[in-house]
């Protein structure tokens, strides 16, 4: 993560009224930030670990109310100010919270697998954020690009005598997703709005049909994969750290966390650079963007490529983590889930993806009785959020690269 020298002035400039008192205010803001992170970590650990359906429902209700109260009391704004005023301490707090969750859940195989899955979704949705949120490209085939990565990992594992290191396999997952996506670039560039959505949707369906029919890739039965081994770090072994024994799923949770963190940094750096302005301009007004010298196609291709690369890498890790993939892991329904995560979180706000992915992935797993109705639940949830807070759980803020005061 590179030092971001700009994050300090804009943080205070975003709220000119606070400017004069900024040093005095930033410490309480930071304390609020730390408290919210700690509470969230606690809530995550509790939700993942809890079994009793009634307790979970009560906890969810409580969290929903807490969220509404936080939004009303401007806690979210304070959290944003606090973390922006002290970026490095903020990152340390977040890392500490993640470590704490891992330690609490150290023996919970299913919980850790679920968390890792949430992070896989979050990474993919950060790719979607770059595509849909920044450049305005509809992509209803995100799960297919995850599948590209997954099947790449599986295919390389089946080639006798070729022992690629797993780091390379994960990267190749991203490369494959980009390569397959490049076949879609022309239709994506030539269509807009609903039509663009339809092209990607059709591609997602075709991808599934292709996998089902392809004997070499296992057909509907799917393919098995070996666990990850990163530079001698064997992911199938239970790690022991400082005398504490962890489930081997902690390895995967950690790797997924690193992937998500990398995606967050990428999306953040993009957003807070000239690239962010360009992608926004392409989304908001192509004609004006062109008139001011932007090659619209170039920036769309960049966003599409970056997003697919993230999806592909996430897919390779996901496939290796579950040890088995089949076409029905990468369906249209999954793609829709990913789009709904982006909308639920707040289109274009990279942090919104985290709570949204947690809700959308965890909820059906935890509330078994709604399992069959989960798509219905997402629909209701997304509609509810769009009615109550049109910008999503964490609406995107106006980018402030340069301060307002002279």
């Amino acid at each position: 993560m590179s030092v971001n020298p700009m994050s300090q002035p804009p943080a205070s400039a975003a709220l000119p009224a606070v400017r004069s008192g900024a040093p005095a205010r930033s410490l309480p803001d930071f304390a609020i930030f730390a408290a919210v992170v700690a509470l969230s970590a606690g809530a995550v650990a509790f939700l993942v670990h809890a079994e009793d359906q009634r307790v979970i429902l009560a906890a969810l209700l409580g969290l929903g109310l807490a969220w509404a109260a936080a939004a009303r009391l401007r806690v979210i704004a304070a959290v944003e100010r606090g973390s922006a005023a002290h970026p490095w301490p903020a990152r340390m707090v977040m890392a500490g919270a993640c470590a704490a969750v891992l330690v609490v859940l150290r023996q919970d195989n299913f919980g850790l697998l679920m968390l890792a899955t949430v992070l896989i979704y979050a990474t993919t949705c950060l790719g979607l954020t770059i595509q849909l949120g920044y450049a305005g490209l509809s992509n209803f085939a995100a799960a297919a690009f995850v599948g590209c990565g997954g099947y790449t990992a599986a295919a390389f594992g089946r080639i006798e005598g070729l022992a690629l290191p797993d780091a390379a396999v994960i990267l190749l997952g991203g490369v494959t997703a980009v390569a397959v996506g490049s076949a879609l670039i022309l239709p994506v560039l030539r269509t807009r709005g609903h039509y663009a959505a339809l092209t990607t949707l059709a591609f997602g369906v075709m991808f599934n049909v292709f996998l089902d029919a392809n004997e070499l890739l296992g057909g509907p039965q799917g393919l098995k994969l070996a666990p990850i081994n990163l530079f001698g770090w064997d992911f199938s072994q239970d790690p022991v750290l400082f005398g504490v024994e962890f489930s081997f799923y902690a390895n995967y949770a950690l790797l997924c966390l690193a992937l998500t963190a990398g995606a967050l940094v990428l999306a953040g750096l993009l957003d807070r650079s000239w690239m962010g302005i360009r992608l926004d301009a392409v989304r908001l007004d192509e004609v004006a963007a062109q008139v001011f010298g932007l090659r619209v196609a170039r920036w769309k291709i960049l966003a599409f490529t970056l997003g697919n690369a993230l999806a592909g890498m996430a897919g390779a890790v996901y496939a290796k983590m579950t040890g088995f993939i089949a076409p029905n892991n990468f369906t249209l329904g999954d793609s829709l889930m990913m789009v709904s995560i982006v909308i639920l979180g707040g289109i274009g706000n990279r942090w919104g993806v985290l709570p949204a992915a947690l809700i959308v992935v965890l909820l059906p797993e935890k509330l078994q009785f709604i399992q069959e109705y989960r798509l219905l639940l997402f629909a209701v949830l997304v509609i509810l959020v769009l009615v109550l807070s049109p910008g999503g759980l964490l609406p995107r803020r106006t980018r402030t690269l340069a301060g307002g005061a002279a």
Binding site: M6, I277, V287, Q290, V291, F292, L294, A402, G403
Partner: protein, 261 residues
């Protein structure tokens, strides 16, 4: 003014066709360096079409457009900013959710780093570029409205109509164009606001003497006050050319606006 009389923009036999309609019909016109040229004519006479074909949004069916002696007829829109052409739109086309600074910065794209490495990894130099451009944007905005210069981090949607127009013009000017096409700056504003804005534009033009302005406008008082010369279009053709007073007295022009007497 510098290089007075030199031709900066020229259309030769320029035609634009929409299906069966000739929006521009073999139009010939020249714009001289440093002048303020008014482009007037009744609704549908082809004024905005001329702007759109010049800025590369529409394709010409016939004829040529020369910018500074260079043929730009087939030049894609995204190359024209680099060649020194900037414009505003009749219906302001700001990116409303973005900050004032982001909107203005869009006009300076040509000189900002394009590569991923420069944007994502060289953050210190990026921060310096941002500060430099912000200073430039502030200086420019101050020429129009000192208050606007303090609102660079506000979203454009929070601005009133006149300030939005100002931002649009700042966005066009920050790219240091040779020629600025203003499409109906008065649209959506009161008489007073329009006059104020136009005075500001003229003040900016006087500051960098060789900026050429072509203005499409329906408000004739404004045209009379600010233009050096006028060209009147009707049905995609040039029907008259000269100082505003000469043009306004011309019978063909009167007929185009009011019908045959």
């Amino acid at each position: 003014m510098s290089a007075a009389g030199g031709v900066i923009l020229e259309a030769r036999g320029l035609s634009v066709r929409f299906g069966g309609l000739l929006a521009l019909n073999a139009l010939d016109l020249t714009v001289r360096r440093g002048e303020v040229l008014g482009l007037i004519g009744p609704n549908g006479s082809g004024k905005t079409t001329f702007f759109n074909v010049t800025s590369g949004i529409y394709a010409a069916a016939a004829g040529r457009i020369l910018l500074d002696g260079r043929d730009i007829t087939r030049e894609p829109a995204h190359n024209l900013a680099r060649l020194g052409l900037a414009r505003t739109f009749q219906r302001a086309r700001l990116c409303l959710p973005l900050s004032v600074f982001d909107n203005i910065a869009l006009g300076a794209q040509e000189r900002l780093p394009q590569g991923l490495v420069d944007n994502l990894l060289r953050r210190r130099s990026l921060a310096r570029d941002i500060e430099a451009l912000a200073e430039e944007a502030r200086t420019l905005a101050r020429l129009f409205n000192p208050d606007l210069a303090r609102r660079l981090s506000d979203p454009a949607i929070a601005l009133g109509m006149i300030d939005r127009r100002r931002v649009e013009i700042c966005r066009a000017l920050i790219g240091r164009p040779k020629i600025l096409l203003l499409d109906e700056p008065s649209a959506g504003m009161t008489h007073e606001e329009t006059n104020q804005l136009v005075d500001e534009i003229l003040a900016v033009q006087r500051r960098n003497g060789d900026l050429t302005i072509v203005i499409v406008e329906h408000e004739m008082g404004l045209i009379e006050r600010i233009t050096d010369r006028c060209i009147v279009l009707n049905y995609g053709r040039k029907i008259c050319e000269g100082r505003f007073r000469e043009v306004a007295a011309d019978p063909t022009v009167r007929e185009a606006y009011l019908g045959p007497s």
